[in-house]
């Protein structure tokens, strides 16, 4: 079916685009949200992605697998454009992770609160990664593309996807642990050691310079 749809897309069959939209609008919308951190921007990106898909239909590779990498590649470009501009960039960095509605906090188990906190930490940390790292993470980890598909979406060699992911993983480990450590320190009633100020973590290079050991200890 996918092969057939692909051929019809290339041929400019309007019905095929209607199907494409129905199948992938949600995927593109959520992917765009993960890159932009804003639902209304994500909606714009999603809408524009399909318009560009139509106009760029003849560049669709006639014989490859899923159409998803193609669409997410277009969406990546759109999201990059949407993220340009101080207002939006700042909004993205500043935005608190969306708080999921919780019926009753008292009934929350410690584990779930911990999960929610971890997710919030991840969201903040994600915003500190490099753009190229965020893109491969959003494609491979959150949108389920394989490495070759992500490479196809980004127009880079598979090796580049691998190296970006490895690098992102190393940075994520450091940043996530540090973020959690900071939050724990903040939430603790008594501090046994001087607390790091928030501002200190804004410089990534300062992060990278912290000995791993110190970070690990702080997070335990």
């Amino acid at each position: 079916m996918s092969e057939c749809l692909r051929a019809r897309i290339r041929a400019g069959d309007p019905e095929a685009f209607a199907e494409l939209y129905e199948e992938y609008a949600r995927t593109v919308y959520n992917y765009a949200y993960r890159l932009t951190g804003d639902w209304s921007t994500a909606e714009e990106v999603m809408g524009d992605t399909f318009l560009d898909a139509w106009r760029g239909r003849e560049q669709l590779d006639p014989d490859r697998g899923s159409l998803k990498p193609w669409l997410l590649g277009i969406a990546t470009n759109k999201a990059r454009n949407a993220n340009r501009g101080t207002g939006r960039r700042l909004a993205f960095l500043a935005r608190r992770p969306a708080v999921e509605p919780v019926a009753d906090f008292a009934e929350e188990t410690a584990g779930r609160i911990d999960d929610a906190r971890r997710l919030a930490a991840v969201r903040r940390v994600f915003g500190r990664l490099r753009r190229t790292e965020r893109e491969v993470l959003a494609l491979c980890v959150w949108s389920g593309l394989g490495y070759p598909e992500a490479a196809q979406a980004l127009g880079v060699p598979v090796g580049t996807v691998r190296s970006r992911l490895s690098r992102a993983r190393a940075r994520l480990r450091r940043l996530t642990d540090q973020q959690l450590a900071d939050e724990r320190a903040e939430n603790a009633t008594a501090h046994t050691e001087p607390q790091r100020r928030r501002g200190e973590q804004s410089d990534e290079t300062a992060f990278a310079a912290l000995p791993i050991q110190q970070i690990t200890e702080a997070s335990r």
Binding site: P14, F17, Y21, E22, E23, R26, T27, Y29, N30, Y33, W39, E43, E44, M46, G47, F50, L51, D52, R55, Q59, D61, P69, G73, I74, T76, N77, K78, N81, A82, R84, G85, T86, G87, R88, L90, A94, R95, R96, A98, L119, V122, R130, T132, E135, L137, C140, V141, W142, S143, G144, Y147, P148, Q152, G155, V156, A168, G199, S202, D203, E204
Partner: protein, 362 residues
């Protein structure tokens, strides 16, 4: 043909098969643990239909007018600054300004008050630029720019921590042909290539408004009215952004990490003088602490100002900065969002080559 299968739960499953090597699998699993998928959401039904209608209308329209797509869908690309993730200038969310929009057909300065000090200053800056020395650049060379730059980072409470100025070096490809790797950045101790993310099948981004090479800049009109008209045509404002702000920002980008013929630099300043809402700041400062005159435009909706700084004595370009113009959640009025001081511009023959260190014939 439903969208229900594309959520994160299925995503995990799908990629399991595509991840080949054992090593990849271990890495993938760890990444998934470090980065749990954020909640997915459906678009509201009416919005979903709206965008589908838009698509179908476009298809309908294209099929009745132009049978074949003419150009690729690569979105407009601005000067890349991966480390900053955006151009220096504040581009988005420009709002309606309470100024009369000048026509962008270039018919004139009718809306620019005579004696406007910004216009006078820009004219002087343009005169200086016109008399500066020219270094023609070949397609196979690279433009090297060293700067001191800083960008604010968001704090979890929504406010901004101004960044610490640090050195940045870029080598920008001058090739006119489409390219996927268009430059190299050295920042925070790392070198990383400026790689364009282009749709599969695309050869990359050619020299142009998004990749302003010396020769492309040299090809621009030198009549300020004609140039301004061209810039309006080449600039695509972000949604809701005022065109004049977008064009002002575009000029700022063209002036930043580039080398161009004097006559073109002069024309850019004269074109900027014709943009409504541009004002003069008697005391502006760049990230290197150098004080001078500023040329500023305020984006009211985003409550930010973008300002170019010029040396008080010789009126040469020093740098650019943006800052908050009002107290708000993002921070106090005056908080610097981004700033750059250009320290050196040169033409070199190879990546990682610095002026003066060349083994070749510089």
């Amino acid at each position: 043909m439903t969208a229900t299968g594309s959520g994160p739960a299925r995503a995990r499953h799908e990629s399991g098969g595509a991840v080949g090597a054992r090593h990849d699998k271990a890495e993938y699993d760890e990444l998934l643990r470090l980065l749990p998928p954020p909640p997915a959401r459906d678009l509201a039904a009416d919005r979903h239909s709206h965008h589908k209608d838009r698509l179908m209308q476009l298809i309908d329209q294209d099929q009745h007018t132009a049978p074949a797509p003419q150009h690729e869908p690569a979105p407009r690309r601005r000067l890349l600054r991966p480390a900053l993730w955006m151009p220096l200038a504040a581009t988005a969310l420009a709002g309606t300004l309470a100024v009369t929009l000048t026509t962008h057909t270039g018919t004139g300065t009718a809306d620019t008050p005579r004696g406007n000090t910004a216009v006078v200053l820009l004219e002087q800056v343009a005169d200086v630029a016109a008399k500066s020395e020219a270094t023609p650049v070949r397609d196979d060379q690279l433009v090297y720019v060293k700067s001191l730059t800083a960008a604010a980072e968001g704090r979890p409470d929504g406010s901004f921590e101004p960044g610490k100025p640090h050195q940045r070096e870029v080598w920008m490809s001058q090739s006119a042909a489409p390219a996927k790797t268009v430059g190299l950045i050295h920042e925070n101790g790392d070198y990383f290539p400026i790689s364009e993310l282009v749709p599969p099948g695309s050869k990359g981004v050619p020299a142009g408004i998004d990749r302003p090479t010396y020769n492309w800049l040299a090809s621009l009109p030198t009549d300020p009215d004609v140039l301004l008209e061209r810039l309006y045509a080449l600039t695509e404002p972000a949604d809701g952004q005022e065109e004049a702000q977008a064009v002002f920002d575009t000029i700022g980008e063209l002036l930043a990490e580039t080398v161009m013929p004097p006559r073109n630099a002069a024309a850019l300043y004269r074109a900027a003088a014709k943009i409504p809402g541009v004002t003069r700041d008697a005391d502006a400062v760049d990230s290197a602490g150098r004080h001078g005159f500023g040329i500023r435009r305020v984006d009211e909706r985003a409550s930010t100002a973008t300002e170019w700084v010029f040396d008080r004595e010789d009126l040469t370009y020093l740098g650019e900065r943006s800052y908050l113009t009002e107290d708000g959640d993002a921070g106090a009025k005056g908080t610097v969002l981004e700033e750059t001081a250009v320290l050196e511009r040169a033409v070199v023959d190879a990546y990682r080559e610095r002026p003066g260190s060349a083994s070749g014939t510089e």
